[in-house]
């Protein structure tokens, strides 16, 4: 194997392949940064282009697009609080407050470095321990997916900084919206009001663009001024974190990368879930001085390392079993098959030179991402000094065309706008939109896992506790719930003591 890896490196260092990786990376970053365009879309649209190019170069380019696409979302997420991809939704929680505090450069720097680590750790896992990790993924059945979704939903509790009750309310409201459409088992249309466009449920991307981009845009225009609250260039701040800051962040980054890799292996669980769970864990294990939700660097490090950790992780089941780990991997499956590579054991033996070249290209993509990201951060961050009155119409235009382009549907654009109004009003009334987005993703996974388990077990509850993995996930969910609830009870006690 080491022989093949070495050969792969030497092939990839050829100028044409390096150029392909760089071009893919830059395209990926641009597409990822624009709200409405996702990494999946970018890869999907470039796969046909690779038909006429040789396998190694085309896969290297697609690898670059993938890594760049997931990373690019963080740029608009941090600067504008409008995530370019769903994977970056959690990055806005601490990333944008950092930008508002004048630390946009640092936030971007941390996002770049964390994404780099996430990508490299997952690429290492892909290279060395794929077969071992995939055995773990095979043990996941419907009840395990249900509990994974529940674990993801417990992050809602952590996200509700102001009021636990309101956070839960947002989440449950989101779950209700997620039931719109045909149900996963019997395909009965629920709450569709006869509208054909709602049969497959509320389309996720327009809803997310509306809830984050449009509602944020309305907030910005209401405030006026600029995002960084000053037109002073100095307010961008330094980009590279100091050695001490970096050491402080390293545990969070490594944990996030690991979590992203593992969650990426599970088919159906992707970067968005990974980033929220990683954020939750970082907040739970954080210290008292941490200011999560107000611009805590660990918040950005946790989410970005996790979502890029999914890149390599999602390729593990793809290359070993032919089962894609997420939607991008599914599209890459098409890319592989166009080149005549059928996933399975042959991929690492007969076509080993191509496969290892692809894996090694991920390392190179991440290095390019680090360089391009750090170099460009200073310029990207300037956006926070532009007046909101100019930014808002631009973001609105991008949101509109972004929502339209997913399904070529004007209904999606109206839906996006509707969710934007909903998000704005809810924010004004003191509710956060993140729980709704989480619920929209996790609701269907939870319901499918739950009903499928019930069908499999014939109505018995035992199936939910039969697998040790389920028990671990339940334990993790409970552990995640304890600190916020304890804090809530403590606060209430303190207040009633002061009153008397």
């Amino acid at each position: 194997m080491f022989g093949m890896v070495f050969d792969a490196f030497s092939v990839l260092l050829m100028p044409m392949n390096l150029l392909a990786v760089a071009a893919g990376m830059v395209s990926g970053i641009i597409v990822g940064a624009l709200p409405g365009l996702t990494a999946t879309m970018a890869v999907a649209l470039l796969v046909p282009v690779t038909f006429s190019i040789n396998p190694i170069t085309s896969l290297a380019m697609l690898g670059g697009v993938y890594c760049g696409g997931i990373y690019g979302g963080s740029i608009s997420s941090i600067l504008l609080a409008t995530p370019g991809t769903p994977a970056a939704a959690a990055t806005a929680i601490d990333g944008h407050p950092m930008a508002q505090n004048g630390e946009a450069g640092k936030a971007l720097g941390i996002a770049t470095i964390s994404s780099f680590f996430g990508g490299i750790v997952s690429a290492v896992a892909l290279l060395f321990i794929s077969t071992w990790l995939v055995q773990f993924a095979l043990k996941f059945g419907p009840s395990e997916y249900f509990f994974l979704a529940v674990l993801g939903l417990t992050t809602i509790v952590t996200l509700s900084t102001d009021s636990l009750l309101k956070g839960l309310l947002s989440g449950i409201f989101g779950l209700l919206i997620a039931t719109i459409g045909m149900d996963p088992i019997s395909a009965f249309p629920r709450f569709t009001f006869g509208n054909v466009n709602l049969l497959s449920g509320v389309p996720f991307m327009p809803a997310m663009i509306g809830l984050f981009s449009v509602s944020q845009v309305l907030k910005l225009i209401r405030k006026g001024g600029t995002i960084s609250n000053s037109a002073d260039d100095m307010k961008i701040g330094k980009i590279m974190p100091t050695m001490k800051e970096f050491k402080n962040l390293l545990p969070t980054i490594l944990k996030g990368s690991g979590m992203g890799t593992v969650i990426g292996i599970l088919p159906g669980a992707g970067s968005t879930i990974a980033s929220f769970i990683s954020y939750n864990e970082a907040k739970r294990s954080g210290k008292k001085n941490d200011k999560f939700g107000e611009g805590e660097p660990k918040g950005v490090a946790a989410t970005e390392s996790a979502n890029n950790g999914v890149t390599g992780g999602s390729l593990i089941p793809l290359l070993t079993l032919g089962i894609p780990g997420n939607s991008v991997a599914a599209v890459l499956l098409g890319g592989l098959m166009i080149q005549g590579l059928i996933p399975g054991p042959d991929l690492f033996t007969l076509y080993g030179d191509i496969t290892y070249a692809f894996i090694v290209s991920l390392f190179i993509s991440n290095i390019f991402m680090l360089v391009i990201g750090l170099a460009g951060a200073k310029y990207f961050a300037r956006v926070t000094n532009v007046s909101n009155k100019i930014l808002v119409p631009i973001i609105l235009v991008l949101s509109v065309i972004g929502s339209f382009s997913i399904q070529n549907s004007v209904f999606d654009v109206w839906l996006m706008f509707g969710f934007g109004m909903l998000g704005f009003i809810l924010n004004f009334l003191g509710f956060s939109s993140s729980p709704i987005v989480l619920a929209l993703i996790l609701g269907p996974i939870a319901e499918e896992g739950f009903t499928r388990s019930m069908v499999l077990s014939g109505g018995g509850w035992g199936i939910f506790f039969s697998n040790p993995i389920s028990l671990v996930l339940i334990a993790l969910s409970v552990i995640a719930l304890i600190p916020p609830i304890v804090r809530y009870i403590k606060d209430r006690k303190k207040i009633s003591e002061r009153q008397s």
Binding site: L176, R190, V217, G224, V397, V410, F428, R498
Partner: protein, 165 residues
């Protein structure tokens, strides 16, 4: 508007929503009914809890750390919850933006994406009182060009068509 007023609005809205959803779900098939029914119950329960909370003013205080200006001590003080003030200028800007966007999405299908986009941005810049003429003329142009390059040329994704471009 005080927090308790806002909470009351939301809790009443959510209770009504649960009732409507429950009524709607009665026609679902057995399999389809399971999950939504649990969700509706929990939604109703949480909304009622929130409504009850709004009747007790003590619930709207929380601990804030305040630094005493003279001694520099950090004290913990019981504060009342935030009040959001509705700023008139801001409210006008939001309303203008919303109405402009509705027109934009509607007209996009008649006049074509790029023409409507240019008009939308130009008009909105004027309504939002941007003075710089160069910005008003060229930013919409650059934005349209950018969208054209990325979406139509690079990704070959269609844009809404109308009479014009």
């Amino acid at each position: 508007m005080e927090m308790w007023k806002r909470d009351r609005i939301v809790s009443i809205f959510m209770i009504c929503l649960s009732a409507l959803a429950y009524y709607g779900s009665r026609s679902f098939s057995d399999m389809a009914k399971i999950f939504p029914t649990y969700i509706i119950y929990v939604l109703a329960a949480l909304s009622i809890m929130l409504l009850i909370k709004t009747f007790n003013k003590n619930n709207y205080k929380h601990i804030e750390k305040e630094v005493d200006e003279e001694t520099g001590e950090v004290k913990e003080v019981v504060e009342k919850a935030d009040v959001v003030t509705i700023d008139k200028e801001g409210k006008k800007r939001v309303l203008i933006t919303i109405i402009a966007t509705v027109f934009y999405i509607y007209i996009m299908n008649y006049l074509g994406f790029f023409v409507t986009t240019y008009l939308f941005m130009f008009i909105l810049f004027n309504l939002l009182k941007i003075d710089n003429l160069m910005v008003k003329l060229f930013v919409p142009l650059f934005t349209s060009a950018f969208v054209f390059l990325i979406f139509r040329v690079f990704l070959t994704v269609p844009t809404p068509r109308g009479i014009f471009f």
